[in-house]
Assembly symmetry: D4
């Protein structure tokens, strides 16, 4: 076991993948449940997709279940996605399935990557790339550690036909686009809790917000002012699946 070969094996194979991802079909920001479900369905559909995650680990707020009790609830409509991914769930009452939060997040992630999506953790989307007519054309990326460590270091950029904002409550990409471009995107902020309505609206709010930029998961409700839902994740998973389908359609339309 030679340390220098280990160094080269790791650095070269990572850098090859990263540079290969500098030209993408779809760039997803945020490896929470919606983003990874979207990545899974896009990769299954043979679309070139990468997910950029700010944190060291993926999964966002799903690990902690509700109030650190690491269980999640999924309703009947989304049970099919759990089944497809191989996540076990037990019925609590009619229409309410309980799953282990850690099993759910790790299995979604495992399946997303084995389907062919790339996940790059520890990378933050500081900004977007923009072109004529305020079309979003890619991401401006930096190591998350750079800002955590209060360093002043310039970012690099990757090009992507479509960008998906899957950053959750903060809708970070949409906020950047709202502040730094002329697209007219506005982030309303999520409303108080109403699980029933929130779960419905999240599907409607999953859509393209401006040329080149789609939104999914809690970011969708944050952009359009839908209510929050708490530790029920069915709408999140369905939103991820829907945004993958929307993105695939858009890519097909733009193909020659």
């Amino acid at each position: 076991m030679d340390e220098v070969i280990i160094t080269k094996a790791i650095a070269e194979s990572y850098m090859k993948d990263l540079l290969d991802s500098s030209e993408l079909d779809v760039a997803i920001v945020g490896a929470g449940p919606s983003g990874m479900v979207a990545g899974y369905y896009l990769a299954k559909d043979k679309i070139k997709v990468a997910i950029f995650e700010r944190k060291l680990s993926v999964g966002g707020g799903m690990w902690g279940g509700g109030m650190m009790f690491n269980r999640i609830v999924v309703q009947s409509e989304a049970k099919g996605i759990l089944n497809e991914l191989g996540i076990s769930a037990r019925q609590f009452e009619k229409g309410y399935y309980v799953a282990d939060a850690i099993e759910a997040v790790s299995t979604i992630c495992s399946r997303c990557i084995s389907a062919g999506a790339k996940i790059f953790n520890l990378l933050s989307a500081e900004d977007v790339m923009i072109r004529e007519n305020d079309r979003i054309t890619g991401l401006v990326l930096n190591w998350s550690a750079v800002s955590l460590a209060n360093l002043h270091v310039d970012p690099l950029a990757v090009r992507s036909k479509l960008v998906i904002d899957a950053t959750g409550h903060d809708a970070e990409v949409c906020r950047i686009v709202s502040r730094k471009t002329g697209t007219g995107v506005v982030v309303c902020g999520e409303k108080s809790m109403w699980a029933e309505v929130g779960e419905k609206e999240i599907i409607d709010n999953t859509k393209q917000v401006c040329p080149g930029l789609l939104v999914t998961g809690m970011a969708a409700n944050a952009v359009f002012g839908g209510p929050r839902m708490g530790a029920i994740f069915g709408g999140m998973l369905l939103s991820g699946k829907k945004v993958a389908s929307l993105a695939a359609d858009l890519l097909r339309k733009t193909k020659p």
Copy 2:
């Protein structure tokens, strides 16, 4: 979708599992690669096992690969474990396999839970339970958030026939046992890097350190003063498998 049913579904099913885990065969501290591999093999062997993880997410230092380049290296000896768990790996040079760090950690976790191990995140082992002859008989647990938030709140306790310290470089459980009991356990601290030797010694150092307490992964080299290895994980996986086998043997011997 009723929020109160969601609340009950989550809290009740979590609390049932947590209280069910208050009497264990094996309690593992730390859901890094060694701890989760151990959990996987113990659960496969129908042994009642739970893993207690201090952080929100599992995986320890594996997510970041080497220097944030999220790839890891595994040598031939451990390739079989990757195969069994379903983690893909590409040969870089003869004997050096490169795997995606995120795929590796999420897949180990997913398989560990579906094999039947319980993982409780956000819980810290503050101390151990002890009985006659300084035998370790369980863990003293608290929400990690309690100490992160600087609150003064008492812990609770779970009983376990065996405890495995899988806390990595810090060997936290062994340090507590060294400071607060009369077992004579001493933590030497890991030595400078020598991958070849470190990978060998980690297997030898995987063993019982005092009645009721075993050690695995980097904690094993930290306790016995073995060298560190860096971003090569074969020894870690093999150590997790070995400690599971040792624990199973010990349990069999103590059965009537």
Copy 3:
């Protein structure tokens, strides 16, 4: 004394009470003097009430008296409440009674719980639950330690016929409702000190601010722009008693 039985005794009896409180008549946010006095009178009236307190201990700013001199002043109008609760007080000048701040807060708390109110400390109201016509129908709760520890964990929710904001100067629940709903609630902020006027207005300002939400104590003056009063607590106690009475009336009206 078996540690595992202790663990079960504590976790089971707590969780039973917490889940029992997931459907309430009245949910009070904040266990300061007003909130606990309200809880006392509601419980005495056999109304199902729970108080959710963000901090480890109850009592808010009452412990420190004025400028860390742990005495408080109560005027004649509120002396009856002290008497009913069994808090001793000495007349300083005609109409001004001095009580020991620590005796006052601990006795109010002791009496509130023995009257039948539940107090859950270390829980923060992150948000409210809302239904048609912007009616407030419950609380979205999380461990306070979650945000203190900067963790990203989802909350759970409890339903309540009425919610009382007893969070003091910050009027936290009303601020959330103001920002995240369409109720039109506005928080004016308290004005500079004028004890005489403040003590009068606090009683007038104790009322329902929108369907399902009442306000008491300093939060009442903060919402409606009344002046602050300093370390005189008569108005606080009377406001707590009044809000209990208002809530009881509202509940009676909504009963079939």
Copy 4:
């Protein structure tokens, strides 16, 4: 209601009590359960006693029960103290009583003060006063806010025939005495958890550690190296009662 009269009422009545407490029979450091139970029994016995508490609120770690589940367990031997103080408790299993942690702490405090003990919160014991033969003769006090705010301000001192260290796990007074005097007091540190043994030893360890200084509660086990017990509080209450009795005996002996 005149603000200046309120100011005078509070400042004058506090300062009178504080200066009156500058010459005490017994000075207790720490208003946790042991310290307040000791204060209750000493005051009942007409002994001049004051408790100095570093925090804003009293109660130490009792508020949070076990792992933020705010319940505590008390065994049969200490049920009598709960009864005397008027704290309700429900039997969980034979010999294990569960009480509401908030009711317990607030009621102990309320009863302690109404029995005649003074509690001064927000005051830290920075040091002790010492005389010939290394006899402890009082406390060196400062506002806790002074060190929290990183200010450099000198302390003041109070004289007391006896000092009781009721500061819990840290045994702060004993540590100061160990470091800054020639008394030979040594703080061993508490050992790992063993509830049965810990509950027994805490009573034995409740005693005088050097002329003028007694120790109670978890500080007793910390000084003499007894095991910790977790969220069972019977030994704590009994230790508080015992130290009160020891102190009363010592005072009687030293009287002319």
Copy 5:
């Protein structure tokens, strides 16, 4: 030397002075050069005056001279004040006198107190007291350590015929009055540096800003938008002298 007598000597004499200052002719907030010069002239004029200073030490930004070079410059117009107070100064160029910053601040302070003004350090003005027609009638005070230590403790209040804001660049009292009363006071903020103009305007801006409230020193330029001046202190001293004279006039007018 008995420690308890020392304790009583300090606490009693301080508390007597503090309570004596609960009814004042003039309450000055901020013991910087302007505030202390005002205090000196008011005390010389037999007016009952006290200065409340947030920090442990007096003097504000004067100690550090310019850029930590502890010298200050005073122009001819203000040389007379230096002479009266007994502060030596050397001419650098015609019209520019250089003084030792530490000698200046300590001597102003020493003379201010020996003239009869009281200085209470470590006390913050959290708010003002207000009466009919938005007249400012006193200060709401708290230990600065309370907010530095993040404690939640109520303030006390003192009454004063006039209040002078001498808090420097921040104009803290005026900002509070602007935000929490209906007086219409607005704080413009100081402008960029122009020493010549700033030194002139500071005298003009030294005046009553609303009934009961005057402003002096840099707070005067901050309220009315005058330019800053840097390390030249003549205007500051003259402003302090002027506000003392204005206050004396106002007091004479309001006397029966």
Copy 6:
């Protein structure tokens, strides 16, 4: 080697240069690449110029290249500046030159000083000096350590015929001028990334923003709302050269 002579050698020669720089032709704020290139060309042109840099080291964000990969890209148009300064660069693709970021920044700095510009590090421009018609006439400086250490110390001032804001993304001087003067300067903020357009606009935006104040480098795009460019530095260098030329012209015009 005598320590006192070393002390005198350092302090005297520094202070001589600093005071000599209290009257300048051009004062540049920020020693990033644009500021230092401007300083180089101004000094070459025999203009009296000094650069004031907030940090301990010069170079701003150039040291870290892109994403901590310490290389920078320069396009053909700016290759001539690299050649003049003696910085080596390798062609990556036609029109794209790669240079070592550390070599670039250290060589620019070395050449800037040897050309005759003074660089004063650890000094922050807190404000500007202003005169009739809102003309900027100098800088108000303080040790950066003063604000980093939270000290309250007054600044000193230097006069300069022209001031150049070379502070990068924050456009700090322009923001101060916008907030504290009547010049009407507005800082738009930089837009999302578009390297091609950004590189063009930065040259156009390099100009005088109000009498006495010019802007260069990323501050120019920040003031006028141009897009950001990332780790390509050609525009930055050309902007520095252009602002030097503009400043020289302005100085010539104002000469008698």
Copy 7:
């Protein structure tokens, strides 16, 4: 009023004094009461003396009196020093004089400087200068702001025939000498409070601790293990006077 003349006046006069102080008879570290009293008597005796103070303001812990009650106590033996300096004091009980803490510290400082001592604030003694036979020959100084701001900047040095450690409880200079030289100086640490004994020992402990280094004030008791005294300052003042006399004697002996 020209800002550039102000800049020059301040910087030049400061730097002249600082460089003039690079060769001293006596360098005192710490401008607390002992250090300033020592400076006063040395300056009165025409000895070239400078005081280096780490903080922005002088006075150490004297400003806050006891427990923020800003009064101090002085006994009869030291009343003469108060009289000589012109500090008023009132007798509380026979032998106990109470003075205003702020008047005391500001007057000592004012008199110290007007007697001819230089005080340089914001300068920390990082280390000492040393020569043959471990003789202390000066101080290694740096701006305090450098370490507060976590900057890495080298210090400068001044030479002094004698150094006096007047740094209070920490005895900072003696600790440095203990750790970094071969002088054999040991710092015992101060003992618990005993005012009577502490006041006596502080005078005895005021002496030369190694060639070139003397100690005064609380640093004297800290070095030799004397007890602390609290807010009584007579011994401090007498110690300052004594160390001045000792230093003067030593200087006379070493003169040719």
Copy 8:
């Protein structure tokens, strides 16, 4: 200008250099003056050398001169090195040359890289690689941002025939080697200031401390207990030159 080409240009050229540096003749830790002078002479001698620097910028403590007065002193013996590198210096007194600190550090760096040395900033040496007989054979590296950001990420490793510790006062590499290997290296810590002796000893202390590890600059005096020198840098430069020569000799001896 295409952002993706810029990304590739930067990442590919950096990674090529970094991986090329995974097998070195000499690895220097720390890009302060000694380390960069050593790098310059080694590169000039055609030896394959890289410098790893923890911070964003190079130069260590040299930028700030003495006490933030950015000048340094160099004595006659080292004037030749300044001349060779092209750094101007003015004689202050005979034998004392003053140079501009910023010119010095930037010019050394510029010349070091153009001579052929590689500098990798933002990389920390976490540990060393070790082989038989405790020979140091390389460095274990990680992004400095990883520990600054409190992330848990594994390092990578580079091999080097020799390692030079040029980390200054802390002697970080030697401390690691002292703690984590069996080499017997001990770090004594630097002594108090004596410029004359320190400048001499630093040359003597520049040597090999164990097989494979040399030490230079202040780290040399720190390891062997030599005195510190302050802001005189001649010894530092000469030490860097000497260690380069020693390393070249050692490499020649080990060549076949």
